[in-house]
């Protein structure tokens, strides 16, 4: 099977620090790929290189076999790669519906839309309500309430719903459960499975080993700026994975280059 997203030989240097050191990456259609690694291993630089927030110094990335070189996250989004950032990237004073459609608003049909540029609030609100319903988040009563009046879990839910609604090729989730309670984390994990069941592959960056081992089909272990190995959660234990990513142990057939 051809990977939907493939990277080869990525390098990214910040002064004397090499954040990406000849890094490879593959994501296959319909899978949940977890990316784990120690702090400073370069996971977020890798993810940013894929989502267009960072431009690698060297190397190539292909989406569905076509080479891509995004200059901004907006370009990546236009290509169908949707990212939920750790900061969530939402405007606190604006409504849930406004936030879901930020940068891709719907306009009214006909002259009101084309000449007077009027937003189609009814359509956007209905869509937003539908997506939050899918997520089981409709205890949020008013789709027009400002995002800052929501709890942390609700905000995360809105951000994930936004990515799931618009991510047509790949959805990237950066630490989606880090700020959540046990129940809310469970909902997000269920949502991740929902998104996969619709055939959209997911890249999940997380430090939470139980969550990673529970939902991931494959685990990309990142160490010292490049991919150390990719394992299947059935074949290894969580402690093995932690040992690999911290360098305490090497997987079979891998010799540490750095």
């Amino acid at each position: 099977m051809e990977p939907i997203l493939k990277a080869r030989g990525l390098y990214k240097r910040y002064g004397k620090v090499t954040a990406l050191n000849n890094c490879d990456f593959e994501l296959y259609p319909g899978e949940i790929l977890a990316v784990i690694g120690d702090n400073g291993a370069g996971k977020s630089t890798l993810i940013k290189a894929i989502s267009g927030a960072v431009q690698p110094d060297e190397g190539h990335i292909w989406l569905e076999g076509n080479e891509i070189a995004f200059k901004t996250p907006i370009e990546a989004r236009a290509a169908g790669i949707e990212t939920v950032y750790q900061t969530l990237a939402m405007s606190p004073a604006l409504s849930i519906a406004d936030n879901m459609f930020m940068g891709r608003e719907l306009r009214k049909p006909g002259i009101m839309g084309s000449v007077f540029r009027k937003l189609d609030r009814a359509r956007m609100e209905a869509f937003a309500r539908q997506k939050l319903n899918d997520l089981g988040l409709m205890t949020i009563q008013n789709i027009n309430q400002a995002v800052e009046t929501l709890s942390g879990g609700q905000r995360q839910g809105v951000a994930v719903a936004r990515a799931a609604a618009f991510g047509s090729k790949v959805v990237i989730l950066d630490e989606p459960t880090a700020a959540l309670g046990v129940k809310e984390s469970r909902r997000v994990l269920e949502l991740i499975r929902d998104v996969r069941s619709r055939g959209i592959p997911i890249i999940l960056i997380s430090h939470n080993m139980p969550h990673v081992f529970e939902v991931a089909d494959r685990i990309h272990i990142h160490r010292l700026g490049s991919r150390l190995c990719v394992i299947k959660p059935q074949d290894y234990s969580m402690s093995d994975a932690v040992a690999f990513m911290t360098g305490a142990k090497l997987p079979e057939g891998v010799t540490e280059a750095a």
Partner: protein, 358 residues
């Protein structure tokens, strides 16, 4: 080995059994004060509207001349220029910026329109177009310095305020163009000084223009994607950028549009005062007056909150205080005293409303 993961998950999540299924429910606050806070949060122009109504009622009691059509039309006439400058200032402050150069752009634009006609013999209509274009360009310069060079708006516009005002004096050679010359040779410059007089009450065209501009901008900010982007840019620029808002472009457009509004205000000044004067007090006071209207109108200086209709109410409050206190016959300094108190009150209310999420 897969049991490893499952068993850990099931161990600590076993405690969830019997817990409620709802996630992060939204609790409606029942306290009256909390409700008020929420309502104000969603209706930012309500506070200035309430203050305005209270002020109207109080002055109505204090002075029997207050509720006369001529008094009210005079108030509108006197806030016309501040109201238009306030449109410019509102846009800028919504992006969490500030524009100290609004008055300077207005005066310089009016001088450019006048001198183009009288010194260079350009037809008045074309001179107006040139003035509007140059005002827009001055605003765009502010925008580029702020968006591209990432300079603080306060510093940039503090600089351009002085630069534009000085250029205005140098270019105009301190010459005033007399009202009689303008009405004889270039009446188009005085267009907004014209009026309709239903039942003997004079209403300047300038008043209609101000109301129209406020209405158009209220629509644009509320009902177009661009308007939402202005709010998002002021609210949290990093988040807006990641969500797909071209924040640099939005900022430059906002400052350029503010420049256009200032130039329109400059054109209105010619109609309102008759003459073209490089020493018009708007050059020095326009920024403070417009910021006052914006702040009293409930637009947050931290960006992203408030409505331009609130700014209109803010400008009206200032006009009502000035007129009302004059009719009552107090020392005019009380006007400034009360306006000062209102500014502090408005910012305190803004801070309280912001805590709605806390």
């Amino acid at each position: 080995m897969t049991n490893d993961a499952k068993s850990v998950s099931s161990t600590y999540e076993a405690g969830l059994k019997g817990a409620t299924e709802a996630v992060a429910e939204f609790h409606e606050d029942t306290g009256a004060l909390k409700k008020l806070q929420h309502w104000l949060h969603q209706t930012p122009s309500a506070v200035p509207l309430i203050v305005l109504i209270v002020a109207l009622v109080i002055f109505g009691f204090l002075s029997e001349n207050f509720f006369k059509a001529t008094t009210l039309s005079t108030i509108l006439q006197q806030i016309a220029i501040v109201g238009i400058l306030g449109c410019a200032q509102s846009l800028v402050i919504l992006t969490a910026g500030i524009d100290l150069s609004v008055g300077a752009i207005a005066v310089f634009s009016s001088v450019l329109m006048g001198q183009a006609t009288f010194r260079y013999g350009v037809p008045a209509e074309l001179a107006i177009a040139i003035g509007l274009a140059l005002g827009t360009a001055m605003g765009a310069v502010n925008g580029v310095l702020i968006a591209k060079l990432k300079l603080p708006p306060f510093i940039v516009t503090l600089g351009t305020w002085q630069i534009l005002l000085a250029s205005n004096f140098i270019f105009s050679r301190n010459e005033t163009i007399r009202s009689s010359d303008i009405s004889a040779q270039a009446p188009a410059l005085q267009l907004w000084g014209g009026s309709i007089q239903p039942g003997g009450v004079k209403i300047l065209y300038a008043v209609f223009l101000m109301i129209a501009l406020v209405a158009v901008m209220a629509y644009v900010l509320r009902h177009t994607a661009w308007g939402r982007h202005v709010y998002a840019t002021g609210d949290d620029p990093q988040a807006a950028e990641l969500a797909g808002v071209p924040t640099q472009k939005v900022l430059i457009q906002v400052y350029a549009l503010a420049g256009l509004f200032c130039a329109i205000a400059g054109w209105v000044m010619i109609g309102r005062f008759g003459s073209v004067s490089p020493t018009a007090s708007t050059g020095q006071l326009g920024n403070i007056q417009s910021i006052t209207a914006v702040v009293i109108g409930g637009i947050s200086l931290f960006g992203g909150r408030g409505s331009i209709v609130g700014m209109f109410f803010g400008a009206l409050i200032v006009g009502v205080f000035e007129m009302g206190l004059r009719l009552v016959g107090t020392d005019p300094q009380w006007t400034f005293f009360l306006i000062g108190a209102l500014i502090i009150f408005a910012v305190a209310v803004d801070q309280w409303i912001r805590k709605v999420s806390g």
